[in-house]
Amino acid sequence: MTAVPAFLVAAEIHLKPGALDPQGQAVGAGLRALGHTEVEDVRVGKHVRLRVRAADADAARAAGERMCRQLLANPVLETYAVEVRPAPDGPADDGTGPP
């Protein structure tokens, strides 16, 4: 008997392109004040990590995208992108950084 495999699903949520991102602007101004004059633009978003059980990676991705549409992102304001990879044992935050 094989167990249903685990996946790490990472959802990246940003304001829609062109939407005013005052937080990104403020961070950009801060970086330039520190001397990072090469910074042209900054967008600040959210990164949500999930550990899910699914039949395969496609099913895990579909589930993650549904979750973004239903709750994790506000489709009026935000866009999302979902990344999936097989999960090692452990919590959603395995300390290895985004996939």
């Binding site: 939407a19 403020a26 009026v76």
Partner: protein
């Protein structure tokens, strides 16, 4: 007339809203905990300001899982007056009972001041104010920049769904809301969301009484004094 004020974990204008309702309308107001689906037969519903569910994920986003919101949606469908103030406005948008969304203020500041808003259209919560009335109302929010996509904005404006605008245009807009929008209503005109706090402007002693007309509008609305079509023709 009885009002139910929904109390979410993190609501902090609930008592003020109930007190202002009693003062403005002479009616009763009961606080209803968000886990209840029993609104006690309320004729009107107020979603108060605050930081419901800690503003986790996005302001208002977690509230749709509160059982009380099922009763609020049913009351909205039944045509009863539903008012979302500040965080309550955010909750109504997140719950899909009003169009659009409220984003971080353009200047990133938490704006706490008194602003001028003009009544743009009649609704269950503006009909007693008179068209074109300019009200002085307090605001206190960090995420009050109303936004919706251009095609939805045109539809909202075409159906007179904007009920309050900051004035003067541009200079009077404290948060960068699109088209200076401070309050909107649903197509039935019974569900209204606004960023300013009418419950904080219901006593002269506390700085003004311009919020009283907002609260009293629900009385006129419930009495059938103004139905959407007639009100819009007037």
């Amino acid at each position: 007339m009885r009002a139910a004020v929904i109390v979410f974990p993190g609501s902090n204008c609930d008592e003020d809203a109930a007190a202002a309702w009693r003062l403005a309308t002479g009616g009763e107001a009961a606080l209803v905990w968000h886990e209840s689906t029993d609104l006690g037969g309320a004729d009107a519903i107020i979603l108060p300001g605050g930081f419901a569910h800690g503003d986790y994920l996005r302001c208002g986003a977690m509230c749709r899982f509160s059982p009380a919101m099922r009763a609020v949606a049913a009351a909205a469908r039944a045509g009863r007056p539903v008012l979302g103030i500040c965080n309550g406005f955010q909750i109504l948008c997140e719950a899909g009972l009003l169009p659009g969304a409220l984003a971080r203020n353009a200047g990133l500041d938490f704006r706490c001041e008194t602003v001028s808003v003009r009544v743009e259209a009649p609704s269950a919560w503006t009909v007693a104010c008179g068209p074109g009335a300019v009200l002085r109302l307090p605001i206190a929010h960090g995420d009050g920049r109303y936004w919706l996509p251009p095609e939805e904005r045109e539809a909202l404006i075409a159906r007179d769904g904007v009920v309050l605008r900051y004035v003067p245009a541009g200079a009077g807009n404290p948060n960068g809301s699109v088209d200076d929008i401070a309050g909107v209503c649903n197509p039935g005109r019974n569900v209204v969301g606004l960023m300013p706090h009418p419950e904080r402007a219901a006593e002269r002693l506390l700085g003004g009484e311009d919020g009283i007309g907002i609260l009293r509008s629900a009385l006129a609305w419930a009495a059938g004094a103004a139905r959407p079509e007639e009100a819009l023709r007037a």
